[in-house]
Structure formats: C-alpha cells, structure tokens
C-alpha cells in the first residue's frame, strides 16, 4: 500500500470493480466485475498498467475524492463532468492528482457507468480471488462518504494521454444470436421483436437492464412452466410481463423465464451504458457473423494503445506522439498481416 483515497461524497451504487470472479458458476455465482469491462481496459492503457487492477465504478454520477499521496488517475466509461481543484478535466484521459487536491466528479452527460482508475489500483484484500463488489452475492458493498480505500504501489509513470471515445453511450442496435430457448417463440413474435424500438427502462442494475416495449409484450408458448436452465451474460430474458431484460455481469446462473436470444459479448458494454430512455433495437445475426465480429473486437482491443494521443500538444511531445502512432497505426483488425511484408 502506498497511500489512501478518501471518499467525501458518493453517488448511488458506487463500488470497487475489476474483472470479477470467473469459476464459481457451478456454485451459483456469475463472475460480476465491471459492468463495462472495455472501460477497465481503457483505464489501464491510459495509465500504462495491468487491466486487472481494481477501479471505482460510478453509476450515473461520481463523487468527491482526495488522496494523501500524489496519484495518477484516469477517467473512462460514461463521460461525467470532472474537476480537480476547480479545473475541468478531460474525460477518457489520464491526469496527475496531487496529494490533497479535490477531485469532484458530477453527473453523466451520456451513458451510465463511469470509472475512476488509480495508478497502482485500489488495493483491497482479495476475496474469493477478486476485489470486485458483487451486490447480488453480498460481497463487498456500495462505497459511501467517509470510506477510505488503500491504493496499491504505482509502478508506472506519466499522464496526459487520452483515447478517442466511441459510440457505446447512447443505446442503438444490439446484435443477437439465437439461444437454446429461441425456438420457444413463434416466428411472428420474433419478427415483431426485431421490428420493435424499445426504450431502456429506468429499472436497470448490474443484474440486468429492462427494455420497455412501446406496445404489448412478448410471450413464449408455455411461458411459466419452462425448466430452469443455464443463463449466460447477455441472455435476453422475457419475464412474466412480456418485457425483455438483457442480463448483465451479476445475473443469476440459472433461471426459468425463457430467453429469446443472447446479445453478443462485443455489444454488452452498449447494453450497460445505454442511458434511461435510449432507443434499443435487437438484430439477429448468424453465429458465423458473430464470431467474426468478436474476433474483430479482440483485434481492436489489442490495437487500442496505438490510438492514444497526448492531451496537450506541447511541441516537445510531438516526436513522441508520432512514434506512438507509428507503433499503433500499423495494426488493423481487418488487414491481412502477411500483406504488410513489403
């Protein structure tokens, strides 16, 4: 431990998150972890550290923080208004946070889940192999005013880099593959489901996000007596009132309500981040196409460090900037690596 971070004011359901606890499915616990894992990767890239370090997840609004030591911080996920001792901070970027400086993070301007990353990570003791709060399992809990968190030793250096933001914060179209219960819904229901513009409901948390249909709900045949069966993250569960719930990182491991399909992993950050009222559509795609999209997403993630740019265009940094982009710029998710030989 190299210092502490103190929380003076906290938004609702603020918590410590990492990639969660895979491996407990047979005991009834889903992995949990950050609602938007892509944001954990972005924070790690901005600070030049391992993505497995724990960060603070903020839901809809941030809080007020100070530290008793000099820190490096990064802000990712849903953009929120942030200031350090009154000076506005750029989102999706890394910054120095001197000891005693007051970091104030306000409401989200789009999206839902924002992240505060610390150089060295939040160094809580491991519990069942992770530092994540899992609200559903009762592990950890919401952070509150007055809480003090240990910060790990920061082995990196440097701040003042940013990443371009993507479009995952405003809802949109979710790509879906069939699941083992899709055939419980007739063709007409599926057709109406994919033609419907849903609104992201206020009823949403780390378990799942309800999507409100504008008209009548969707029903499987023999809806209430389906055998409880394995649930995976991304499953679109239809509960008794006919509205779809897209299940998230803290969802249950089994359930008896039918699942009409499964959102592909690459689109799960979009589910998590959709703000209340955002329009959501579902589009069924073939499994082969989903696999290609996932492979592209993995390649994009690998290439993400190359998309960093410096926050301030200080002439002294321009040479560094150019070399940085040369490293990253050659990596394309779509390109054939063997064509690059000449």
């Amino acid at each position: 431990m190299s210092g502490t971070l103190t929380i003076h004011q906290a938004g609702p359901q603020m918590s410590v998150q990492d990639f969660g606890r895979p491996g407990y499915r047979a005991s009834g616990m889903t992995r949990g972890g950050a609602a938007d894992p892509l944001a954990l990767h972005e924070g790690a890239i901005l600070l030049g550290q391992e993505p497995t370090l724990a960060a603070i997840e903020m839901v809809g609004a941030g809080g007020t923080f100070t530290a008793d030591t000099n820190l490096r911080i990064a802000l990712t996920g849903a953009p929120m208004k942030a200031t350090l001792d009154g000076t506005p901070l750029t989102w999706n970027a890394s910054h120095p946070m001197p000891a005693g400086a007051r970091l104030v993070i306000g409401g989200a301007t789009s999206g839902t889940y924002g992240y505060l990353h610390i150089g060295g990570g939040i160094d809580l003791p491991l519990q069942m192999g992770a530092r994540s709060t899992h609200f559903g399992a009762g592990l950890g809990g919401a952070l509150e005013a007055g809480d003090t968190l240990p910060v790990g030793a920061d082995t990196g250096s440097g701040t003042g880099v940013a990443l371009p933001r993507d479009d995952r914060f405003d809802g949109g179209c979710l790509r879906v593959v069939t699941s083992v219960q899709t055939d419980r819904f007739d063709d007409e229901t599926i057709a109406r489901f994919t033609a419907t513009a849903f609104a992201r409901d206020p009823r949403a948390n780390r378990r799942g996000v309800r999507m409100e249909p504008p008209g009548e709900g969707f029903f499987a045949t023999d809806q209430l007596s389906i055998l409880s069966e394995v649930i995976t993250i991304g499953d679109i569960q239809i509960t008794g009132d006919g509205a779809p719930f897209v299940l998230m990182c803290e969802c249950q491991t089994t359930g008896g309500y039918p699942r009409i399909g499964t959102v592909i992993p690459a689109d799960l950050p979009r589910v998590a981040q959709a703000p209340t009222g955002a329009e959501i559509r579902f589009d069924f795609i073939p499994l082969e196409e989903a696999i290609a999209i996932q492979q592209r997403a993995a390649a994009d993630l690998k290439a993400l460090p190359g998309r960093c740019y410096p926050l301030v265009r200080d002439p002294h940094n321009i040479r560094d900037l150019l070399s940085y982009q040369l490293v990253g710029g050659v990596v394309s998710a779509l390109a054939d690596p063997f064509e690059k030989e000449t």
């Binding site: 491996g23 616990m29 009762g138 007596s225 995976t232 009132d241 089994t254 592909i264 696999i291």
Partner: protein, 245 residues
Amino acid sequence: MSDWPKIRTVGLSGILITFAGEMSEPANRAALALRAEVEAQGWEHVSETSTSLVSTFLSVDLALVSPEDIIARLNDLLTSRDWYAADLPAGRRLWRIPTVYGTDLGPQLEEAAKAAGVDPDTAIREISGSRVRVLTLGFAPGQPFSGMLPDTWNIPRQQSLTKEVPAGALVVAIRQLIVFTNPSPTGWRHIGQTAFRNFRPESDQPIALSPGDELCFPAITPEELKRIRMKDSSGDGGAETELLS
C-alpha cells in the same frame, strides 16, 4: 434412437448437454456425473463446467474455439456408458433445516396452498414432511433448487415478480423448493422462513450445500426461529446434519 441427450451451443459462451425435456432424477444424476467426468479429464478450452437441473454446461469461448472437436469428443463420451444409471455423488448429507411456515414470515403460504388445491394446514404437513434432494445450485451463490415434491405441488410461477424475499426465505413452485441466499426478487411463492445461510463468504467453505444433498424443513414457531437467530453464528440456522453415504 432417443432424442436425448441433446448437444447444443449456447450463444458464444459454451456447449449445453441436456439429458431430458423435463425434470427427472436419472437425468439430474446424468448431468452431475457428466460434469464430474469432464472436470476429472480436464478438457482443453473448457474454462469451467456447471450443471442445471437436467443438463451439463461447458464454458467455451466459441469466438476462439470452434465447437466441432468438443462436440465429437462429447459424443464419444456420451455413448461410452449409461449416464442415466450413474450413481449420486459420494459424501452426500441430509440437512434438517428448521422453518417457520406462514405468518408474516411466509406470507404466500395460503396462496400457494390454494394453487396446489389444499388447505394451509395440509400444505404445511405435506411440505414439512417431505424430503427433497439438491438438484442444482444456482441463481445466487450456493442457492439450492431441490425436489421433487408430490405432484400436488406442480404449481406454476407467478405472473409477476415479488419485489423482494429475505435471505433464508423458503419458496415453492413446479414441485421444487428453494432457500434464498440473499434478499432477492422472485417469481416463486414465499411460504416459509429459515435462518439457514447457503453462502458464507467469510468461511473456508463458502458454499454450504452440494448437489445430491438431501433437505427436510421441519416446522417451528416464530419464537423458536428468533431463539435460533440469537444463538447461531455458524450459518446453519439450527440445522442438524447426517452423512448419507
């Protein structure tokens, strides 16, 4: 040739082997035994395994690994023996978990009795006199789905979710009983209350029950439950246990 077992992919998350179209004890045993065998053999690309009532799930990242080889290997394994005749897991235990039925601690007892077509006293007698088996753990850490109750209790889930039942709640639907791990919404009917804790994260053994264990829920008064809660720090909630085999 029977339709079962069925092998299917689950989104991009893995492979599901389903042994029956409805709950049955042989299919439940088959699912447990297949999972144990895949675990014992340590299959490549299978990151974790689990069971639900009548199926085994293998977590595999299908964006990285094409399922054909694993499915071929599964087919060989499935035809190598009669999985429906598999033994129950060794080291099973019987748990007698004291339970308050009805009152404000089990507010849907009367409603559940009505759905089953019996009066509340008969409902308490039937359920407190039943012995059920843990078929799977799921929904929340260590949470048992147990069955099967007599056919009277083949009652459906409710149309809408109950907003929250407390930890330790005993709920019923489709011939099964569940003890809840944590306060949670549910579509099952809340008929009783225990002081049993399925999940004890502070303990060396965070998960109390195992699939194959057997459960009884003898009736006690609300005063007795209060006394148990005052005394008990283990999480057993006054339960007595016995090794079955």
